[in-house]
């Protein structure tokens, strides 16, 4: 291989790419980190903007606008009648720049769906193999929460103290305990004490708009400074990955990128490539990387790349607690969700859901949208009910099925001439059963509270809650999977994928912690393989 400039090219700077770049840089590798977006500094965040300071009062996504540049609009096609969408963020740090930061370990059973429930596939690795990496990543990013000694939600040895519960959460906890439904502290990548040269949370309730002090973990605030400190990191922003090019032996040779400003195309070379572009964009890149050696796309001799697309299904319920009505206004913002309802029905696949609590924010009175009437009484009622706000958002498992997939449309290209992704998806009977059970549980919860329900779950599930997964899945069999348990391509030894696309299956839990743990494990593997001279 001639003119190789970098040891490793990491494509994408989100949760997976950030930890990968940091670890490899600290391990002595010369790393080129490619990011299609660009940095938005905390000073540019609109975290604390008031609605009336924004043109459309924030109702048209102005707060998050810096993370979604215009060139991402209309760059995906949905061929589905389901209510699903995928997050099309394009910014340095990816989704870690604005997220709610709920970080949950998968349970041992979550890796063994085929063995335990006869559905989907088992992962090619176990919880026990991943646990040390969960430990390390939790310490690296700073996680608040508790060890609740729950089999369904394993815990590590160390957590920062969680934020205190609001009254609505205390009431919820007491009310649903008789139903056998636990309410525990949320586990979040949120600092409640100064840690790792970052300040603690200031409880403004705007986690999803970007944390302007970096109390919430993000790649730019936590991983990239460490990677840069080594002198081994080269960061290339505004570079859109077109395709990965291969040598005559089929190994990955270079990445073709398009500069967003000039639209000029160039090749960057490296010995190893790690794709971390997120579930849809990673599949798109691999499927667009066709060559005589890889006619179906790179890492796709099995034909599974793009298939097994899944994510979370969900819905919300909004209630207003009678005993809190009419109280004097107080600052309830906090760090959004402080409480969490873990999966409690562990014996049936239809019970694979959990609930996050109060992540919707307190500034806007949601009930005003649903209350009947008008006039002075309506206005007074809105005001009286506001302190009693309580919402729960359900996150449910979606089956990984081959017919749900991402394709590329060679006839339709984005502004850089790159074929766009096309998404085909249908919820399965099991998905619908999970959704139905989730709705029943939400009804049971609201029935146990002295409250007014203003929003119930709908009739149909929606997806994917920004938790897409599964399009480049891991597995032991190269004929039915694209990656081995170290996220290395079965077909192309110097190609790795470490984002959510690697998931063999998903549980009800948010995927980010598992993505980072897998990426950390893959980074260790790459370091060891390099040390041995095998990569």
């Amino acid at each position: 291989m001639q003119n190789v400039n970098y040891d490793v090219c990491v494509i994408g700077s989100g949760a997976a790419g950030g930890v990968m770049a940091k670890e490899l840089c600290e391990g002595g590798a010369k790393v080129l980190l490619i990011e299609a977006g660009e940095a938005v500094s905390p000073g540019e965040f609109r975290t604390h903007c008031w609605p009336y300071e924004m043109r459309f009062r924030g109702l048209r996504g102005e707060k998050q606008e810096p993370f979604y540049p215009p060139d991402m609009k209309d760059t995906i096609r949905y061929e589905t009648s389901e209510q699903v969408s995928v997050d099309r963020v394009r910014v340095l740090g990816g989704r870690t720049v604005h997220w709610n930061a709920v970080v949950l370990r998968y349970a041992p059973s979550d890796f063994r769906e085929r063995t335990l429930n006869g559905i989907e596939e088992d992962w090619p690795l176990s919880y026990e193999e991943l646990a040390p990496y969960y430990d390390r990543i939790e310490k690296m990013i700073g996680v608040c929460g508790n060890n609740d000694n729950l089999e369904v939600l394993p815990a590590g040895p160390w957590y920062l103290p969680p934020p205190a519960f609001r009254c609505s959460e205390q009431i919820l906890k007491k009310a649903i305990a008789p139903l056998g439904i636990p309410v525990i502290a949320a586990r979040k990548a949120l600092l409640t004490r100064p840690y790792d040269n970052r300040p603690p949370c200031h409880y403004c309730g705007h986690c999803m708009e970007g944390c302007d002090v970096s109390a919430i973990f993000s790649t730019p605030s936590s991983m990239l400074p460490k990677a840069k400190k080594t002198g081994n990191l080269t960061l290339r922003q505004n570079a859109v990955a077109r395709e990965i090019l291969v040598d005559t032996d089929g190994s990955a040779r270079a990445l073709s990128i398009v500069d967003r400003a000039t639209k000029k195309e160039e090749e960057v070379r490296a010995r190893i490539f790690v794709v971390c572009c997120s579930t849809v964009e990673t599949a798109r890149l691999l499927l667009n990387s066709r060559s005589p050696r890889h006619p179906a796309g790179l890492a796709n001799s099995s034909g599974v790349v793009g298939r097994y697309l899944h994510g979370h299904l969900g819905d919300t319920i909004h209630v207003y607690l009678k005993e809190l009505e009419g109280r004097s206004p107080e600052n309830l913002d906090g760090a959004l969700d402080h409480a969490f309802v873990p999966r409690y029905r562990t014996k049936t696949p239809a019970g694979t859901f959990d609930f996050q609590v109060n992540y919707a924010g307190y500034m806007f009175p949601f009930h005003a949208k649903f209350l009947p009437g008008y006039g002075a009484n309506f206005k007074k009622r809105v005001r009286e009910m506001e302190p009693g706000f309580l919402m729960l958002g359900g996150f449910g498992k979606v089956e990984a099925r081959p017919e749900n997939r991402v394709l590329v449309d060679s006839d339709r290209k984005d502004t850089y001439g790159i074929p766009i992704p096309v998404l085909q998806f249908r919820f399965s009977d099991l998905d619908k059963a999970v959704y139905a059970e989730m709705g029943k549980t939400l009804d049971a919860i609201s029935s146990s509270l002295n409250c007014e329900v203003v929003k119930r779950p709908g009739e149909r599930p929606s997806g994917f809650a920004s938790h897409e997964a599964g399009t480049v899945r891991m597995g032991t069999n190269p004929k039915t999977s694209a990656l081995n348990s170290f996220c290395q391509s079965h077909d192309v030894r110097n190609l790795f994928v470490t984002d959510g696309s690697t998931f063999t299956t998903s549980s009800e839990k948010n995927p980010t912690l598992t993505i980072m743990a897998l990426s950390l494990r893959a980074a260790d593997y790459i370091k060891e393989q390099r040390r041995r001279g095998e990569l």
Binding site: F45, H48, W50, Y52, F364
Partner: protein, 184 residues
């Protein structure tokens, strides 16, 4: 300025605040200095928004009906003072053609209705059918109410004076619920 100090505010920021904000004694003063990106075409005292879509007659009617939906009371001003009709004008101006047509048609139907009913009579009828709209005018009421809610509760008046929302600020500690009766 120390970002964790919620008692201080820069003079530069101070002079940018509209006078009304200072009348709200319960509002922590750090509030209005926190938007570092309020440059994207938001209306301000120096750059007030003027109607782009509705005619003066339509705007007058819209203003009147919105102020009936969220009226002034002893607690706070209503939709008129919060300029909710101008908010509606902006949203409709920046909406697709079919949305524009819906609003124009709705106001036309309402104008016709008001030849034989008072505004109060129509609102009372339409609100009865809130959950089960039976006519285009019933649907228009729902649309109108949603717009009023959006505009009012995202305005300074709605957020600070009516709801007396005290968040969106820096606090060093979140104390949580301290009521004995709520503890587990």
């Amino acid at each position: 300025m120390n970002q964790f100090d919620n008692t201080k505010i820069s003079r530069r920021k101070l002079i940018q605040l509209p006078p009304a904000v200072f009348l709200i004694q319960s509002l922590p003063i750090v509030h209005a200095e926190t938007c570092t990106n309020n440059h994207h075409d938001s209306a301000s005292a120096a750059n007030p928004y003027t109607a782009q879509f509705f005619t003066p007659e339509e705007l007058k009617l819209l203003d009147a009906v919105m102020d009936k939906i969220i009226p002034p009371d002893e607690h706070s001003p209503g939709a008129h003072e919060a300029q909710t009709s101008l908010f509606a004008d902006l949203i409709v101006t920046e909406s697709p053609k079919d949305v524009k047509e819906d609003w124009r048609e709705g106001l036309r139907l309402l104008t016709a209705e008001l030849q034989s009913s008072t505004l109060d009579e129509w609102l009372a009828r339409a609100a009865t059918n809130d959950r089960d709209p039976r006519s285009l005018l019933d649907l228009f009421f729902i649309q109108l109410k949603q717009m009023t809610v959006d505009g009012y509760y995202t305005s300074r008046i709605g957020i600070h004076q009516d709801l007396q929302y005290v968040g969106n600020t820096y606090v060093t500690q979140f104390k949580g619920c301290s009521h004995a009766e709520h503890q587990g």
